[in-house]
């Protein structure tokens, strides 16, 4: 008997997984087809760009600054073991633009924005505000979901561009102030080895991460149930799923972008 219960558990978990996946696919489909269809809520898109992009600047900037700084320190220490201290500017530049800028900015914004979106839309769901939207002839996918998706996909690359600049600057400051690098030589080295592809690959990643962040926030919020606890669970799920999907997408995109 207990064997059968065990099998039943596997079946239930598998079915629940399929149900979730199907629901997420449908949700994504509805959200995406509603992006280009009129009416387009320009005010809402602007407001979301401010919230997702502009107000994430301090968090992303600080993260990038310290990451760039610590990268310079670590590479200097590691490099000194085989007389390669001078490689610091090149590695900082590569590491920040290709990997750490997009991924860390993505994760920080996931924590900040996915949670906020899930909590807001989740609360709107449990207080019937989403139902109220449809009684006022307004499609919630267009009014709530599409502006957030657009804003995140547009602003994340911009944030990552800022993160790239501040991250490299963090490395520069640490290298010149405490590791004894010559400032002009450092900049020279950074610029010579910087390739356009390093930056653009990071920006492509950022756009995808932006989509994941907004989608996970909206999806988890939209389907939250049962009051404060449900909204809390939605918020947690949004951040966890967004973070994991960002890391998985990062691997996939890296292998795709650099295989050509």
């Amino acid at each position: 008997m207990s064997d059968w219960n065990f099998l039943a558990v596997i079946g239930r978990v598998f079915l629940a997984f399929l149900e979730q996946t199907g629901r997420l696919c449908l949700f994504t489909w509805r959200a995406v087809i509603n992006i280009p269809l009129p009416p387009i809520f320009v005010r809402a898109i602007g407001a979301q760009m401010m919230r997702i992009g502009y107000f994430s600047l301090p968090v992303v900037g600080m993260t990038a600054f310290f990451t760039g700084g610590v990268l310079a320190l670590q590479i200097y220490i590691g490099g000194s073991r085989f007389n390669a201290e001078q490689i610091v500017p090149q590695i900082v530049q590569l590491g920040i633009t290709r990997e750490l800028g997009p991924v860390l900015a993505g994760l920080m914004v996931a924590g900040r924005v996915s949670a906020a979106i899930a909590a807001e839309i989740g609360t709107m769901r449990v207080t019937e505000q989403i139902d109220a939207l449809s009684t006022l002839s307004t499609n919630p996918y267009k009014y709530l979901i599409a502006p957030r998706l657009i804003a995140a996909v547009v602003t994340l690359p911009l944030l990552v561009l800022v993160a790239d600049i501040i991250g490299i600057m963090g490395g520069f400051i640490v290298a010149t102030q405490s590791l004894g690098f010559n400032a002009s030589a450092y900049i020279q080295n950074t610029m010579t080895f910087l390739e356009v592809g390093d930056v653009t690959s990071g920006l492509w990643k950022a756009a995808v991460f932006g989509f994941i962040i907004a989608l996970m926030g909206c999806y988890n919020g939209f389907y939250s149930r049962g009051g404060a606890q449900g909204v809390g669970a939605a918020t947690t799920n949004a951040v966890v799923t967004a973070s994991i999907l960002i890391l998985a997408a990062n691997y996939l995109m890296t292998s795709l972008l650099f295989s050509f």
């Binding site: 505000q129 139902d131 109220a132 009684t135 006022l136 002839s137 499609n139």
Partner: protein, 257 residues
């Protein structure tokens, strides 16, 4: 005979194993006010949400002005929704917007009216529910429960809908404020000449706003009649409900110790 404004025919809705609506049938004539009474969990809200298209019934037909609405696409659905206004149980005001923007929401987003003009209409509608223009600039969180309900009512009537739904309009209000809301509902519905469908378990409210009362139990309408005849319905379940007795033909699903 004229086509009823709202015609619900034999609808079924289940959530997993739980059957909520079991062949609910009901119709409301143009300009009439029907109040549906019934205990918690008898399917009142689900029925309302099915008519609004927020939920899709498993089976059965719902017609608005003779038009079948259960299988409408998104665009047609939005057209039909223009006929509706709804006052939600918790008012469901958008807390990211100011009060006037809430009232004007259907005008600005649904009808593409310029904001300045929509604001004037919002202020007018706030006045109809007894709120001054200064309330328009507050955020919904700054309002008391009774004021939120009034703003919700102003929002529901702002687009001059042909049909208004009231979901437990007096729940959570003190008796005096409840009566104020009832008066406002009667006044607003009369002014608009709208068809009203309300669900409530507050008998004082039902008596005041109803032309007709129907009682729902286990997903079916078990009694319907003019509001004045509710006390002489001769139906044991209706009697038990309106007198609020624990003992009677309706057994609440509570765990016995």
């Amino acid at each position: 005979m004229a086509t009823p404004k709202i015609e619900v025919n034999d609808i079924y809705k289940a959530f997993g194993p739980k059957k909520v609506l079991n062949g609910t049938t009901l119709s409301v004539d143009t300009g009439k006010s029907l109040v549906i009474i019934g205990g918690s969990g008898t399917g009142k809200s689900v029925m309302l949400k099915c008519i609004l298209g927020i939920l899709r019934p498993d089976k059965g037909s719902i017609k608005i002005d003779g038009q079948e609405v259960t299988r409408l696409g998104q665009g047609d659905r939005e057209q039909v929704m223009r006929k509706f206004g709804m006052l939600f149980q918790g008012a469901a005001l958008f807390d990211s917007l100011q009060v006037w923007e809430n009232v004007a929401f259907g005008l600005i987003q649904g009808q593409k009216m310029p904001r300045r003009q929509a604001r004037d209409i919002a202020i007018e509608n706030l006045a109809k529910v007894g709120l001054g223009p200064e309330v328009g600039d507050l955020s919904p969180a700054e309002l008391s429960g009774g004021m939120q309900k009034r703003v919700g009512l102003a929002r529901a009537i702002a687009t001059q809908p042909e049909i208004i739904f009231f979901d437990e309009p007096t729940t959570g209000l003190d008796p005096i404020m409840a009566d104020v809301i009832n008066d406002l509902i009667v006044k607003c519905v009369k002014e608009l000449g709208a068809t009203a469908l309300s669900i409530t378990h507050d008998m004082a409210s039902a008596r005041k706003i109803a032309d007709e009362i129907a009682m729902i139990y286990k997903g079916r309408i078990i009694w319907r009649g003019p509001a004045q005849t509710i006390d002489t319905s001769g139906n044991d379940m209706v009697d038990q409900f309106i007198h609020g007795r624990a003992e009677g033909p309706i057994r609440m699903e509570v765990l016995k110790p």
